[in-house]
């Protein structure tokens, strides 16, 4: 009998510990948000009363997570709205993380996603923001089926990043990016650099997103009508191999390959190393975008840098423009999991970002983002973002094309462009492979 009692107790203990494990996540979040609300109420009598409203934000720009958390704390203290910021998991995609939260009926009030995700989330989950005041101050917001769904967090653009100090040290003249807009001029400058002792003046990132979604994507984006060009490819009627833009961009790419410091094992170039070389002036050019500043500024960098359009021998004006636009969008949850008060708090937060001086300085100073709104002053930006802002203000941005098939980046970027970068594939093989790919690709509905 004694044995039986002991074993019963054991079972009870084990079962208890198991159920305790199972339910901790729920109860702890509840209690922590409760206690948070209480502490804000108790501790900050001189500041705003806690409204008891709490909103959650998913931040998918992981490099600004710290700034986000500090901002949330200050914002909570000021407005009484409890803001909790979640960092996107780095081992999964944002879309799958958002999907998990929706599947468990616990979505973020505000979710930061990529342009593409806005389209897939808008119909089911996004709140219509078209009546918001800030909507008039930007033309980069995303509208889906008549609903303004995406609040543009920042502007990002890509082109060729240059290190002017490194160039000027060899040429002895002030570097003017517009002087190398044609391929011949660009090549002449590269030869001067080589003659001056910089043996390999170019870096090319080998990551598939850089090759596929950033460089090769310009082949579509620089077309006069990207939409009909991509549709033509999907229908199999477009002749890519003899397309002017394709050949112009590939001519430039061939030049980049020829002067690449990692030539020989180009498809294995390390992003950190390439950025470091550019920052220190061991190389003078790298294809990239203003987001690369967060990597470059980890090293011994110079402020005398910038982004210029991809040099091209072309008949149109694409070699005077960067490619880019809005990047990362906030969507506000429209489902019944979010209460009206929470939604209002979320809308207030977006307004704060655009119209409040603190909100502005959070975007441009703390996070170093190029604002997508015309009323925000952006004089405090880093050199690359300042370049982007200059081109954006001048209207010299070629729009992103957001409707490439989902597997375009991995297939064209990794399986084709990496091979081309390693010179293991000819241009006509590349054109044929891309053409064949589009015949079986699943188009994005939009």
């Amino acid at each position: 009998m004694k044995k039986k009692i002991v074993s019963l107790m054991m079972v009870a203990a084990m079962a208890l510990s198991l159920t305790a494990c199972g339910s901790t996540s729920n109860s702890s979040t509840d209690s922590s948000s409760d206690s948070k609300a209480e502490t804000t109420e108790a501790a900050e009598e001189e500041k705003a009363e806690s409204t008891g409203v709490s909103i959650t934000i998913l931040n998918s720009k992981t490099e600004i997570q710290t700034q986000f958390e500090e901002m949330a704390e200050a914002y909570s203290a000021k407005t009484g709205v409890d803001v909790e910021v979640y960092n996107a998991d780095t081992d999964t995609t944002v879309a799958s993380q958002v999907a998990t939260r929706y599947a468990s009926n616990d979505p973020y009030t505000i979710t930061m996603v990529d342009a593409k995700d806005v389209y897939s989330l808008a119909d089911d989950y996004a709140y219509d923001l078209s009546s918001e005041e800030w909507a008039a101050n930007t033309d980069l917001a995303i509208e889906v089926n008549g609903k303004l769904a995406g609040f543009p967090v920042c502007v990002e653009a890509r082109g060729v990043i240059y290190n002017a100090d490194a160039i000027e040290a060899i040429t002895g003249e002030t570097f003017d990016p517009s002087s190398v807009s044609t391929l011949a001029d660009f090549q002449a400058l590269l030869d001067t650099l080589v003659a001056g002792g910089m043996e390999q003046p170019v870096g090319v990132l080998s990551e598939y997103w850089s090759l596929g979604a950033h460089y090769f994507a310009e082949v579509y984006e620089q077309q006069a009508d990207p939409e009909s060009f991509v549709n033509g490819l999907l229908a199999g009627t477009e002749d890519l191999e003899n397309n002017a833009k394709f050949n112009e961009l590939m001519d430039t790419f061939d030049t980049l390959i020829a002067y690449n410091y990692a030539k020989g094992s180009a498809s294995n170039a390390d992003r950190e190393e390439t950025s470091m070389k550019l920052a220190q002036g061991d190389i003078a050019f790298m294809f990239g975008g203003n987001w690369d500043w967060s990597v470059i500024n980890q090293y011994d960098y110079t402020e005398n840098m910038g982004i210029m359009p991809v040099p091209e021998d072309t008949t149109d004006d694409t070699n005077t423009k960067l490619v880019g636009g809005g990047s990362k969008y906030f969507i506000v949850d429209a489902s019944e999991n979010t209460s009206d008060e929470q939604r209002q708090a979320a809308l207030d937060f977006l307004n704060w970002l655009v119209f409040d001086a603190d909100g502005n300085s959070f975007l441009t100073v703390d996070c170093a983002l190029v604002p997508a709104f015309s009323n925000i002053d952006a004089s405090a930006l880093d050199p690359l973002s300042a370049s982007v802002k200059k081109y954006a203000d001048a209207g010299a941005l070629i729009a992103n094309y957001n409707y490439l098939p989902d597997d375009h980046m991995t297939y064209v970027g990794q399986e084709l462009m990496q091979k081309y970068l390693d010179e293991a594939m000819t241009r006509s093989e590349l054109a044929t492979a891309v053409t064949e790919y589009f015949k079986t690709a699943t188009p994005i509905e939009h």
Binding site: S96, S120, D124, N268, Y411, Q418, D422
Partner: protein, 292 residues
Amino acid sequence: MKTNTMGYKVRQYLLFAGVTTAVFVMVVIVPFIYGLYLTMTSWDGVSKSKPFVGIANYISAFADSGYWVSLGRTFIYSAIAVILVNAVAFILAYLVTSGIRGQNFFRAGFFIPNLIGGIVLGYVWKFVFNKALVSLGNAITSGNVKSLLATETGAIIALIIVSVWQYAGYMMLIYVAGFMSVPDEVIEAAKIDGCTGTQSIIHISIPLMTSSFVQCIFLSITRCFMVYDVNLSLTNGDPYGSSALAAMHVYNEAFVNKNYGTGQAEALILFIICAIIGGIQVYVGKKGEVQA
């Protein structure tokens, strides 16, 4: 009290295993069945609607040549890695049970790689392959040595090397337990009968350790087939997607290319293949077990 009635047995079962069974059903069985259902839909991963498409996903999984290529690659990788992992682990286990000096220190040392998470391990080895080995090679040959990770076969070889380094220590522990379980008197008797050291390993120790082999081979097969973390951080499919193993292909299909249903169907096929191979191996291995 009657102890052989159905009711008594059910009560006893619920008393001792009821909670665990419930948890197991909730976190393993239900998601598995739900996953099975998802393979019959064309869900994109986020949308509310999950249109039912029957077996279309399986058809597209079978038609996805990239999947079968990555699966073939996984077979080659697993075959080599499993053999090497077990060979190295067995030799290490033999060495650290043979009574050499400081064998406990060696046991701990060989086991440590297994304590490092796969992602970290991948980045560490990436540095070793790309920087350390390349610099070393350049210094020796004074030429431009290519990193192992920059070539298609090289990347797979690198994956195998890292897997062996990671798993050999863990499997070693199981083999060590196997060696310890072989009774001394049997070895002694063999020696008296004139058995050499090698002969006693082959004819005495190994047959008595069959259960260790069954366990180790099963563990290494399943781990190699499902490997993802090292694959992600070490090569991420580079160069040209030639080192993407099956699990990575499945993940990319589902979450990067947003074909959730197809990815899920491919994952199920991978599971079935893995289960069949593992099952056969355990069945065959168990048949070969002997008692001392």
